[in-house]
């Protein structure tokens, strides 16, 4: 935070945004401490208690959110799924931010052909539905968690690249970047010490805008059975699996679905609010 925001009069945070923040914090806690929080192992089967409904719908306290058809505890699977989905979304968003910002800076620094190349890639990325591209890559390469995270990391980089390029060009043309350059600073110093901290808040807002989209993408692919592979589990994975038991045990599906919706909604709300406060020009 710069001193401007420190000294600016504090605006009241809307209640809805506060709730969203609390939800995000809870989800992060669950993701961090998943191994401690889960009551059972995700593959532990309780064969005598298969398809038990959640507490309040005829279930018992032993399985708060019920069990699936193998008697696995839904709550435990949910907690671990949150961890995996958050890990993927965070990893992917971080990769996209890093990759996009780097490309944006390269375009701004070298201009000419490098810039044209980056702009062409941005155009390409923006004009192809990412789901189709992702599916093609998965078809060609098969699937593993690191590859999957890397693939998701290709989503949304163009947003960061556009921002980084635009702001870097503006700063290079006039202003502090030009001033530091003529002091004799190396490009590394100009971009990392001066430009990056100055545009960080904008980049963070952009990241909060793509984070929920990555969650949706990951859960969509996992739902299709092409994302996170069993025995690992993710939120989309659980929904896809629970779909078979839609009529008999809807809780298997409803629990992860509501987590996905609540999380994407919360991050979007906080992201919009951050954007309005920090950088209303962003789309």
């Amino acid at each position: 935070m710069s001193a401007t925001t420190m000294t600016a009069p504090r605006q009241r945070i809307p209640v809805l945004v506060l709730i969203a923040m609390a939800w995000i914090a809870t989800i992060l806690m669950v993701a961090l401490f998943a191994e401690m929080l889960r009551p059972y192992g995700i593959t532990a089967m309780d064969l005598r208690a298969r398809l038990t409904p959640p507490v309040g719908f005829g279930g018992t306290i032993r399985h708060l959110l019920g069990t699936d058809e193998l008697g696995r505890d839904v709550l435990s699977r949910l907690i671990v799924s949150v961890r995996i989905s958050v890990l993927i979304a965070f990893g992917a968003t971080a990769i996209a931010a890093l990759f996009g910002t780097t490309l944006g800076f390269l375009a701004a620094h070298f201009r000419g052909l490098v810039e044209q190349g980056v702009l062409m890639l941005i155009d390409f990325q923006a004009s192809m539905p990412f789901l189709i591209v992702a599916l093609s890559v998965l078809a060609f390469f098969g699937n593993s968690l690191p590859l999957f995270i890397a693939l998701m990391g290709l989503y949304g980089w163009e947003r960061h690249a556009r921002i980084a390029r635009g702001l870097a060009i503006a700063a290079n043309a006039q202003g502090y970047a030009a001033a530091v350059r003529q002091l004799g600073a190396t490009p590394g110093r100009i971009y990392l010490r001066h430009l990056l901290p100055n545009i960080a808040s904008t980049l963070i807002v952009a990241a909060t805008l793509s984070f929920p989209e990555v969650v949706l993408l990951e859960s969509g692919l996992s739902f299709l059975g092409l994302g996170v592979q069993p025995p690992m589990t993710s939120l989309g994975n659980m929904v896809g699996y629970g779909r078979e038991y839609l009529t008999r045990a809807p809780w298997i599906l409803l629990a992860p679905s509501s987590i996905i919706v609540m999380t994407t909604l919360s991050v979007s709300l906080v992201g919009d609010w951050l954007r309005d406060r920090l950088d209303p020009t962003l789309t």
């Binding site: 062409m120 078809a139 599906l253 979007s268």
Partner: protein
């Protein structure tokens, strides 16, 4: 105008070339085709013969050119599963997909555009807030969740509509609603912000200050100008008519292109995947091209300049 057209065409071609290159690079990086297709135990001579037959012993750039040439001639390979040409497999699925995506597109436009315009004209009203809430829900609720909830409600609980399949027109209702609602939310949000931006412009205030009736200001000035950014997003929606229903088709077991793609990816049926990828790219690029031309009609200022 000619220059404008030429530039747009060149850019469209470039995108197609990029997609083909992407497919080639991914195909080559994913492993040695000789090893993928022949079993690893095959005798060395057989593998060598296969390489020669497929031109795999040639330098990579020559392979690239051959690959490019084959695609230009419409040779997109055979499906690994039943040996039929991939293109035929894909094309015969297109009508089924369009049966979902075209009504869904109409639903998106019919719902999203008026909602967005109304919300912008009645900013901060209750209706505006409801439209915005609906719009946010439209893109934070994943389509598979929405689809399954609809199935749970209308098929399982109420028993009004079938949960899947393609038996009658009634099976179309749930997938079309699922597809349409999410897109309508996105479109409403987009239209609203485009309208708000236009309404804040000086020429609108001037026109209204000159005593032009508000309805005329909106119809004569605001709507045409707000149409420009909105056309972009509709263009993207048109571009994804063919492959925009991947998830929804899977939810409702609808035998369209999206379902084919998911099955092909799961089976690593590369020819089919590649064929769909190129088809989607071509549709997308064509749709963008049409949007660009529409821009030229909507905004004469764009015709001259490079932007």
């Amino acid at each position: 105008m000619i220059r404008f057209l030429g530039l747009r065409l060149a850019r469209a071609m470039l995108t197609i070339v990029l997609v083909v290159t992407f497919a080639f690079v991914v195909l080559r990086m994913s492993g040695d085709p000789a090893m993928t297709i022949m079993s690893p135990e095959a005798p060395a001579e057989a593998i060598a013969a296969f390489r020669k037959a497929w031109g795999l012993d040639q330098p990579i750039w020559l392979q690239y050119l051959h690959y490019f040439g084959a695609i230009l001639q419409g040779e997109l390979g055979q499906s690994m599963r039943d040996g039929r040409p991939a293109l035929v497999l894909v094309v015969e699925r297109i009508p089924a997909t369009l049966l979902l995506t075209v009504p869904a597109l109409l639903l998106k436009i019919g719902l999203g555009l008026p909602a967005g315009i109304y919300a912008a004209l009645h900013r901060n009203s209750l209706a505006d807030r409801m439209v915005m809430a609906g719009a946010v829900a439209g893109f934070t609720v994943p389509s598979f969740v929405l689809g399954l909830l609809l199935v749970l409600l209308f098929a399982v609980q109420l028993g009004w509509l079938p949960s899947g399949g393609q038996e009658s027109w009634r099976s179309m209702i749930l997938p079309v609603i699922t597809l349409g609602l999410g897109g309508a939310g996105i479109l409403a949000r987009f239209t609203r912000s485009a309208m708000l931006e236009v309404l804040g412009q000086p020429y609108i205030r001037t026109a209204s200050a000159k005593g032009v009736p508000w309805a005329l200001v909106v119809r004569g000035h605001a709507l045409p100008n707000a149409a420009i950014p909105t056309v972009t997003i509709i263009g993207f929606m048109i571009g994804s008519l063919i492959a925009g229903a991947v998830v929804v088709e899977s939810v409702f077991s609808w035998p369209g292109v999206g379902r084919l793609l998911v099955v092909a990816v799961a089976n690593r049926d590369l020819a089919v995947v590649q064929c769909i990828l190129l088809l989607v790219a071509t549709t997308m690029v064509s749709a963008n091209l049409i949007v660009d031309l529409l821009y030229g009609v909507l905004d004469p200022r764009l015709r001259g300049g490079g932007h």
